[in-house]
Amino acid sequence: MTDAIEPQVTADDEAYTVRPYAVTGGRVSAASKDLPMEALVEAASAAQNARGLTPEKKTILQLAQGQYQSVAELSAHTRLPLGVVRVLVTDLAEENYLTIHTGGTAADESSHDAHGGLSLSLLESVLDGIAAL
């Protein structure tokens, strides 16, 4: 949903040398809308030799090389709006330059119960983890 609305947040446009959606070719891909902002991205090793990619895509692949980066982190580090990063990440995944991991997110049915809430076992792990901090 942010994909449709972000271009209206004009206050941010000044921060870019090009208008944000110019880097996506003006597209808002349907698949990218469902990409959770906390989904983790991991660049494929083959991505290091990738040619013909836009500077924005190259930057995303560099950031996600050898480490997991969430979509939100990629947005923060590239200073591109979340919606733009979603489109670019979805493109790169389709081109096999990176892998998207959605375990635990709303896009991962196995970690949720029938009502869409997170599974009890996952919540127990989270609770134990926080308590041990």
Binding site: M1, T2, I5, V9, A11, D12, A15, Y16, A31, D34, L35, P36, M37, E38, A39, L40, E42, Y68, S70, A72, E73, S75, A76, H77, R79, P81, L82, A93, T99, I100, H101, T102, G103, G104, T105, A106, A107, D108, E109, S110, S111, H112, D113, G117, L118, S119, L120, L122, L123, E124, S125, V126, L127, D128, G129, I130, A131, A132, L133
Partner: protein, 199 residues
């Protein structure tokens, strides 16, 4: 989209698996201390998903009790990350500081464990949109009265009455600067989510 089974993160041996990611939303009014709350416990310095409005907006919300102590506007979500044992990553997402960004909340809360609503009793009305939103969506939330300068100025029962939240909603004092206090708030959210699941 590549979907990872939730138990993959704890697979025995072999190649390292991608962490399982969960999130908790940190809501509340403008300059109530959301970024401070996130920063007190995050493994990384809080990041912001949108370009800063001005150079001055780089930095950490000082959780000032008065608005003139906050010199900039948070234009989008601030967030942090905590690595938990068992290849679990917990993300904390702060809501955009102003009501005009309410349209982003649906995206923000999708798949979240629940939410913390930070309250400044000097500006109680600022948390009303958050409380209304989470109640309306049925999202588990706890109310944390942020004690600026470590002073609790109001009784929790009085705050509960003023907010009109039912007894089931946990309420507590917190200090957004204190890791131990933010930890307790996060524990309360997860416990509430578990309680909901069992009922």
């Amino acid at each position: 989209m590549a979907s990872q089974p939730s138990n993959a993160a704890v697979a025995e041996g072999g190649t390292p698996q991608a962490p399982t990611v969960v999130k908790i939303v940190i809501a509340g009014g403008f300059a109530v201390g959301k970024t401070t709350f996130i920063g007190s416990i995050s493994d990384i310095d809080p990041l912001n998903t949108e370009a800063a409005m001005t150079e001055h907006s780089i930095g950490v919300d000082d959780a000032g009790g008065v608005s003139d102590r906050k010199t900039t506007t948070t234009v989008a979500m601030d967030f942090g990350r905590i690595a938990l044992p068992g290849a679990l990553w917990l993300y904390l997402f702060g809501t955009p500081g102003q009501d005009r960004f309410l349209f982003m909340w649906d995206d923000l809360v999708r798949g979240a464990i629940g939410a913390v609503v930070l309250v400044d009793t000097a500006r109680l009305d600022q948390c009303f949109p958050a409380v209304d939103y989470f109640e309306g969506k049925g999202i588990p939330f706890v109310v944390c009265v942020n004690c600026f300068d470590g002073v609790a100025r109001h009784k929790l029962e009085d705050v509960r009455e003023a907010l009109g939240v039912p007894d089931e909603v946990p309420m507590m004092y917190t200090d957004a600067r204190e890791r131990s206090a933010t930890k307790q708030a996060l524990i309360a959210v997860v416990q509430l989510a578990m309680q909901r699941l069992k009922n």
